[in-house]
Structures are given as C-alpha cells and as structure tokens.
Amino acid sequence: MTMFQIESLCKSFPTSKGSIGVIEDLSLNLVEGEFLCIVGPSGCGKTTLLKCMCGLEKPTSGTLLIKGSPPNPQIQKFGVIFQEDSLLPWRTVLGNVMFAQEICRAHSEETAKKYISLVGLQGFEVYYPYQISGGMKKRVAIARALAVDPDIIIMDEPFADLDAQTRWILQKELLSIWSTLKKTVIFITHNVEEAVFLGQRIAILTKRPAKLKALINVDLPYPRSSLSTPFISYREKIIGLLADEIPSIQQEAEK
C-alpha cells in the first residue's frame, strides 16, 4: 500500500533577491513498511524536504500525500528524529518520552518505559539529558518517536554528530527495531555507506534545487556487510552519481 505519494513537488522561499527554489519537480512514492534513504549533496534541500513531509512547511506547488491526505501532524502521527540535540533539557529521560505522548494525548508511563527498554536505556529513566552521552540522547529521541506509535518515522541525519562506533551500533539497532515494528522509515543522510547499509531503496537528490537524480533498489539481504563486493559496488555507484552534483569551488564562488 502506498504510504507517501510525492508528485512534482516544488518548494521555494521568497528572499529580497527574488525567490530561491529549494525543491524542484520532485516525485517519489513510498510503500508502507519501507526503509528509504535519501542522500544528496549538503545544502541540497534535504531538510526542507523533511519539513514538507511532516507538515512543517507547505509545498509551493505539487502534491504530497500520506495515505491520500496532505501531511498534518495533528492528523497523522510522525516520529521525527533531528540531527541536533532535540531533548527537552528540563525533562528526564522518562519525561522526554512522555512529552510526545502528552501532546498526542496517549499518556502511558508503561508504554514509555517499554520503548525506553527497547532502546536499551532501562535504569536511566530519571536521568536528565546533561547526565547522559550523545548516543544515549539519540536513543531517547528514538524511543520518544516510537512511543507515539507513529505512522511514519523520519530521521534527519540522526547519527551525523556521533562517533563512528556509536553510529554503527545505533544503525544496527535501528534496523532491528525496524524489522520488529514494521514502520515506514525515511532516513536522510549525506553518508553513502550509511545509506547502503540501511536502505531498501536509496533516493539520490541533485544539488539545489533538489530533483530526484536516481532511485536505487539495494538488493542485498540484511544484515549487510560493508566489506562485501556488491555493497562496495552499490557504494561506488552512488558516490559516482553524487560526484556530478557536488558544486565546484568555482561555481560556489560565483554565487
């Protein structure tokens, strides 16, 4: 069943020098339960796309439908995980997970604790964010997103700020959570290896204004090894596609 239907999506922002197109004529479909990775050169509009997907920004033109209706966080449930630290510093781990539930009016300490355990943080319920590590904060953010039983999980470079080891552990755990809960996941990253490791499909975006450059089916069973020959060939193929999109220093200077 189609979960996300994006057709000829355009998004531009007005500025003093006229409008700047960030997304241009982007079309993409997602089926329910799919794990899709989106990669693109930095500054290409990935985060704007995310904001359109969860209803924080309205598209300038084109359609963007979730199960037939436009995204609205008061109708569909989104579990969004941001790149930056997004925990409420004045709430404990448990309080942060329950915060999302309070807003969705699905208050349940039991459910909150269940998801805290799922991300491996049982025993840390009463800790404040400043008392736990960066990797643990990301786990809390994941538990918080899952605790509202979201229709769709959207992750915006969630592991970009973490060290390589923590990142690798969290990637594996994310896959195991995904295969257990069967949620639709959209995972935005600029890290090609991460995308090949995680995604069933990978959408490659062009530089700004973002269009869909290629959509690649990663036909590899999980768990994937980054050392296998097919993994490397997928990686090289995507890096090759992206290389055309990285603006040269010359072009950057002219802007």
Partner: protein, 227 residues
C-alpha cells in the same frame, strides 16, 4: 561616625524598647515587608505574559518597543511623586514595587523566549502540538531560568524602591521611615542600624530566592551561582 558598638547598642534598643512612637525594629521591618508581595505579584503577572507575547510575536514586539523602551530608563524612584499624587495607602507601594519588578521581568522573559531552540519547537510541532502547548511545554520552561533570575533581580529592585517610597511618602511605620526620622534627630547610630537591617533583609530575600531557583532548575548543569 559611630563605631560598631554604639550601632549595636542602638540596634538592641530599637529591637527591644522600640522607637519614640513605641514601634520596634521588627514592627518597621514587618511593615516594609508586608508592602512587597502584592506589588511583586502584580508586576510579575503583568510582565511574564507580556514578555512571552512580545517574545513570540514580532508584531507585538514592534508595537510595545517604542512605548516600553523609554519607560525602562525612568528609575523607579522617579515614579514616586506620581504614585503619591494618584494613589493612596498600600496602592502606592504596590504600584512602585510593581514598576520595579515589571521591567527586568519583562525584558528577561522576552529574551528567554527568543532564545528558545527552534529545534525543540519543531519537535513539539511534528508531534502535533498546538501553539498553546508549544508555549506551555516548550517556550515557558525554556525561558524559566531567565524569568526566575529576573524575578530575583526585580525583587531586589522592589525592596530598594519600598524603602525609598517610605522615606518620601511619609508612611507612619517602615524601615525607610525609621531612618528618615532618626536622621532628623541626628541619631546616626539608629540610622546605621536601620540601614544594616535593610541590607540584611535584602540579602535574606535574595538568597532564599536563589535557593528556590536552584531547586526548580535542578536540570541545569551550570547551576551553583553562589550560595
């Protein structure tokens, strides 16, 4: 200038026997203290919502700035004559303390609100939060450290205003009145004893508010601002 001993003796005498009208130091202190809370609450209750509104809505900020910005530079003491003419009794003091508290609380609330992390607001929005819940659950707690600091600073200003107001307003009893009265009799010992009492009470108020602040803001790493 009198030494510490005569001041101490004056302090004891005023505390036990009382002044020429029979009021003890405790009576004066109680009279001054009793004038503070209403003004403090009134000033804060006006300033905090206005600070939140001007913090989140640039239109409100643009409308309020030309009115409030010049008023901020009028020292609370300069409001005393107006308060004397327009108001009477406790109302004068409520007004003056309210003025003292209002501006620091307003400006700090506004600054605190504007410093709220946009990511946290987006988190709440993606979970479907209404503007009301964003204010209650994100913006207010995020601005709370600034608001509490401002309340403490405002309280200090309010306490200073009250003493000044008593001196000018001719209240029958109060620490300001005590000092002024005894300066007329040239009894410096009592004047200094009264001044020290004002300072000590101010200090006690400040530290109890600081203690409360640190308790409420346990989630902050960088607490421990003395005390």
């Amino acid at each position: 200038m009198p030494g510490p001993l005569p001041v101490w003796q004056a302090f004891i005498k005023i505390s036990t026997v009382g002044d020429l009208n029979g009021y003890t130091l405790a009576d004066h202190a109680a009279a001054s203290l009793h004038r503070v809370p209403l003004g403090f609450i009134a000033g804060s209750l006006l300033a905090i919502p206005l600070g939140i509104l001007t913090g989140i809505r640039s239109v409100a900020r643009a409308a309020a700035t030309p009115i409030l910005e010049p008023m901020r530079f009028i020292p609370p003491i300069a409001w005393i004559p107006l308060a004397m003419i327009l108001l009477s009794g406790l109302g004068r003091y409520v007004f003056l303390i309210g003025i003292g508290v209002f501006f620091p609380v307003l400006l700090n609330t506004m600054a605190g609100v504007r410093r709220t992390s946009p990511t946290l607001i987006n988190v709440a929005r993606t979970f479907g939060a209404s503007t009301g819940s964003v204010i209650r659950k994100i913006i207010f707690p995020s601005a709370l450290p600034e608001i509490l600091t401002a309340l403490r600073v405002g309280m200090g200003i309010g306490w200073m205003c009250i003493v000044a107001a008593e001196m000018i307003g001719g209240a029958p009893v109060g620490l300001g009145t005590l000092i002024l009265e005894y300066s007329n009799y040239l009894q410096i010992n009592v004047v200094i004893a009264g001044m020290i009492t004002i300072g000590m009470i101010g200090l006690a108020i400040n530290y109890s508010m600081l203690w409360l602040e640190n308790r409420i803001l346990r989630w902050r790493v960088e607490i421990n601002v003395g005390g």
